[in-house]
């Protein structure tokens, strides 16, 4: 956690809480992006999100009707739960920087 030069304060127990709903919206950078696929991504392109078991077990972003772009590694517990409840999500490409893809995840 170092990298910023700040002292650490301590608080007893508890953990980060949040509303227990599926109106999940956040920005994130895709993990393990497929270089061949991200080359062709357009600005503001909308990607599908799906909960998968292969090739990895998690939540991944796909080109609509096309190949996998990369994986989501944030808010993964809530996303998996909400997808299992029948909610659908999309990811809008915000910007690309070299091999990185920044997206906004939101309900479809």
């Amino acid at each position: 956690m170092s990298g910023s030069d700040s002292s650490i304060k301590r608080s007893p127990g508890g953990g980060p809480g949040g509303p227990d709903d599926c109106a999940i919206v956040f920005e994130t950078t895709l993990a393990s992006p497929n270089p061949a696929v991200i080359e062709d991504l357009g600005p503001s392109e909308i990607l599908d999100l799906a909960s998968v078991e292969e090739p990895i077990r998690g939540v991944v972003a796909f080109v609509i009707g096309g190949p996998m772009v990369g994986a989501i590694t944030q808010q993964i517990v809530a996303l998996r739960r909400c997808i299992e409840l029948g909610n659908e999500y999309e990811a809008e490409v915000l910007h690309r920087e070299g091999g990185s893809v920044r997206v906004q995840v939101r309900p479809r």
């Binding site: 170092s2 700040s6 990895i56 077990r57």
Partner: protein, 408 residues
Amino acid sequence: MKIVGGTYTESVVEPGSEEIMGSGLRAAAALAPHLNDLSLITAIDSDMAEPVTWIANALGVHRVVLERSEPVGFRYMTPVSSPLINGIGATLEDDIIVEDSTALLFGLVERHLGERKVDAPTIVLDPQKPRDTEQLQLSDLTYDRLVVVANRSETMQLGRESLSVSEAARSLLYSSQASAIVTKQGAAGCLVTWRDGSHVRQETVGAHPTRRVWPIGSGDVFSAGFSFALSEGAHFVEAARVGSRSAAHWVSTQQPDVPASILRGESTGGVLNPRKAQVYLAGPFFTTGERWLIETVRDTLNSLGVSAWSPVHEVGHGDDIAEADLDGLRNSDAVLALLDHSDAGTIFEVGWAVARDIPVVGFGRVVEKEGMKMLGGSAVELHRDLATACYRAAWAGMGMRTIAGWLT
């Protein structure tokens, strides 16, 4: 390579962010695509087991998972705030036995009650203990060379009663009998201190300014890039350059893995050599929220390697403060302006600085759109992201050219 480090929840209030990461998982994710034999030894609690499996698989991280007694999480108000730690009483009873050619060891939040034994020709130790710093625990480590990677306050505390970072690093080199000490200094890059025969040498490696900065985890990625380069035979200074470029890539993109080109040592250009700089902190300080922000930003600028000049701290409240404040402004190398609600005094100071070619970086989330046109259309670099604004102001003080208009 083996990495020993934490897996923790990390949440930020503003901007909202929540993820499962931690120093160990982050460092492992940074290097996983590039090392077939990389393994992370980390502890988790039972609540985290399934999500950690998903995340680690998505990141390609091979791991050995130990059990800790309770959840541990870091909660930040902003990415430049000190975190609150939940689960500080967590314990880990399993033994940690590591043998490899290179080991990267991060300090853990969990109290380790088992046995630790690390045997590696190269050990990189990142203690992660900015407060309550005990002596470094080295007796259970077997190595040919030890490198301690610590931030500025850790180095000052471990270097006991030293007057400067340079002196503290030398003191720590002697007391730990390490081969090298790398002191991370935020926006000011890092200081490498190493033994060269009977001499001790020091060299500064500059930071790489980026257009956006997410600082949480930057130190972890630095240590990962540094350790990788060291394991590939790089000298301490060259390895620190790889660490610095790796950290810059992380803060700019939040891409979990470091690109191969950076780990290979390819230059990314744009190094800023640090120098002493004073940054004037322009902003209102009349409400509790405003004063909170001033305190947070002042602490941040001071921790980034520049000297913050804050009117309320240097001059105070009162009626006859204008000339004293302008004296501070006149002698500053850059300005960080807090622009929410367009406080008249702050806007005046921005204009005064721009007229004298003092670079200005502004931060605001609730600003008058029409009013910002003069600022952004002339010379002021504007940000909606607080961490980025702080870093950019520090870099501007050190000589980076600002970019007029909204960057974040």
